[in-house]
Symmetry: C2
Subunit: 352 residues, 2 copies
DNA sequence: ATTAACTGCTGAATCGATAAAGCAAGGAGG
DNA sequence: CCTCCTTGCTTTATCGATTCAGCAGTTAAT
């Protein structure tokens, strides 16, 4: 380190060329009131000196930071574990990169002064807006943030926040659809559903989709719902000690893939064959479903596309184009693999 | 958004209390030259108005952004796919959060004006420093960045950049160690090594460790090295069509878990038993090794701890404490699972 | 009693970029 | 010939926070 070569500023370029700083600023912005010959000289000098405008100076003057925040309300440990986050980050950064906007990742670890970290980021105008993900149904901070008048787009379903911008999938329909896959294409009739934590909208919706499916096919009496928490362990726990096969459940619908994977291990440990004795399906397809053995049939949630769209909506909001809240719902795809009995190569390398 | 409630500034707080802006600034900073009674009134007013200092104003004046960049030189698609990145991000954010510093994720997608995006971030002083990860041995941008005098810490091994700060693991020793595990504990003698792309230091080091191990035990003649590229597919390709078992290789050392997983699928497809006919080991333990069937014995690289330490070193550098480059090497752990023949429960839920 | 030091605040300068207003010189139009 | 519009720049104000230099008024020291 030692020598921290003072950064090149507008003034440096101006002196080099022999014009005012304002002229340099205007020339670099392509303003027509600066002569073409001067503009060329300024551009050349800027390039030669390696001038890059100070983001702080620009942000202060323009009242715009050219950065957006990706907010992860849940604890760092928990959510980063889900590779869901990786997909979201990819979507957000690619949309932001298209506009030369920085992405900052904000968690709410420091709960100092009653303000969550991401609220601070917004109020300090470190970011022009935020994409918020993985919020539980109960999070009051999200409501505050969405109601604060600051540009925010939520990923997920928030029927209780009708005035918020959001991007999601139809969890109810998707869950009903994959349940019906078990019923109609595999003839399963005695179904178990393992939910996520029921204070999450996602968990509730997926459960409701399951219930609609069994009700619609007259299988409600033989169906059962047990609450999990989206963790692998809870999937394991939910199926352990139950009866499957001929005189038990012949299908299990897990509300996500992590639980399905945990369930798969438990079923194997207790000697049940999948999909022979019991068919298993998951939800999400963020990674583990493809690599598990047997590979897990699931609903692919387009996390990256959702994040990209959410980011686009956020920019529209920041630019003031949109003033009326938007709600986007993306289609999902049923991915047929081995755990439900659909044929599948041992590995689908082309899958991802 | 219609009503964008103009942000609360220092001036607003000052007017409310009836003092100068300077007094407010000093009071909030805990300066002793402001009377205790005035300080209390200022603090109360600031809290009441919900004052949060503008990061742009502060950054401009202090010449410090209180943000660091996490730089991912490779293409977004490629690297985010590796869940390695998730671990790194967790480590960086947790270290940054401890200091109330923002983390921004920077890729080099926009190659505009010859400057990579992350170099722009540094020169625009959007970030005070950068943690750089996943750089190939060949990347000239990294050298430029490291030589630029800006605070940078690299994650990985960069013997060709002796004046750079870096944090890594001893890939050579680790690779030798896991190879010897196959030799000494499982009696394997005919070993195949599948490398990563050999323009990556990591790939070269792991190959060298493998070669040291076979040479040390007189198995060099029966050993073979084939080049892969760290992708699942290349692991598949590397073992397909080869002979294993009694008259072939009885052990394969993959340079990472993704390739090991691909290799596992290929071996299964061709009817070889793992670990019966052939023992398999990987490297990294970023996720897939635990959930594969059979689970993959591997070297756990402490990505999160490396990232956390790298971030700590970066802050030391930014604060100017450290002026002489540091090089940290973290210990790795051999994780014994099923693919090498070490006993293992069907799933180790406590593992992660 | 006079100087020195301290206390508690205010005023002004500063960080770097931008945009509005200003101003000189030249050309067009009446 | 005088006004009016361009053209091509410069001056100046501004964004919000910080910090140094001042400046009254008080207390301590000699």
């Amino acid at each position: 380190m030692a020598k921290s070569p003072r950064a090149v500023t507008l003034k440096d370029v101006a002196e080099r060329v022999g014009v005012s700083a304002a002229a340099v600023s205007m020339a670099l912005a392509g303003h027509r009131r600066i002569g073409p010959e001067t503009t060329d000289r300024i551009r050349a000098a800027a390039a030669e000196l390696g001038y890059v405008p100070s983001s702080a100076g620009k942000a202060l003057r323009r009242q715009r930071s050219d950065a957006i925040a990706l907010v992860v309300p849940n604890s760092t440990q928990h959510v980063f574990g889900h590779s869901y986050f990786t997909h979201v980050l990819t979507g957000v950064t690619s949309a932001a990169n298209d506009r030369d906007v920085q992405v900052l990742v904000s968690t709410n670890s420091s709960e100092a002064s009653g303000l969550t970290a991401y609220e601070r980021v917004m109020r300090a105008r470190t970011a022009d807006g935020a994409v918020v993900t993985s919020a539980g149904i109960e999070d009051p901070n999200i409501e505050r943030l969405a109601a604060s008048g600051l540009p925010v787009v939520l990923i997920g379903n928030y029927p209780e926040l009708p005035s918020a911008f959001s991007v999601g999938v139809d969890d109810v329909a998707a869950s009903r659809s994959i349940t019906e896959h078990l019923i109609l294409e595999h003839g399963r009739t005695r179904l178990l559903h393992v939910t996520g934590p029921l204070d999450h909208r996602t968990a509730v919706d997926r459960r409701d989709g399951f219930l609609q499916a069994v009700a619609a096919h007259g299988l409600a009496d033989d169906a059962q719902v047990v609450e999990g928490d989206f963790s692998e362990r809870s999937g394991w726990v939910a199926v352990t000690g139950r009866r499957f096969g001929a005189d038990g459940f012949d299908g299990v619908v897990f509300a996500n893939d992590d639980m399905a994977f945990g369930g798969l291990q438990a079923l194997r440990a207790e000697g049940w064959s999948v999909p022979g004795d019991v068919a298993v399906v998951g939800f999400d397809d963020f990674g583990i479903a493809r690599v598990a053995s047997p590979s897990i049939t699931t609903v692919r949630v387009p996390a990256e596309a959702m994040a990209r769209l959410a980011t686009d909506r956020l920019f529209a909001q920041i630019e003031g184009e949109d003033s009326v809240p938007t709600r986007d719902e993306l289609p999902v795809v049923l991915v047929r693999r081995a755990s439900c009995g659909c044929a599948s190569p041992p590995i689908d390398l082309l899958d991802d």
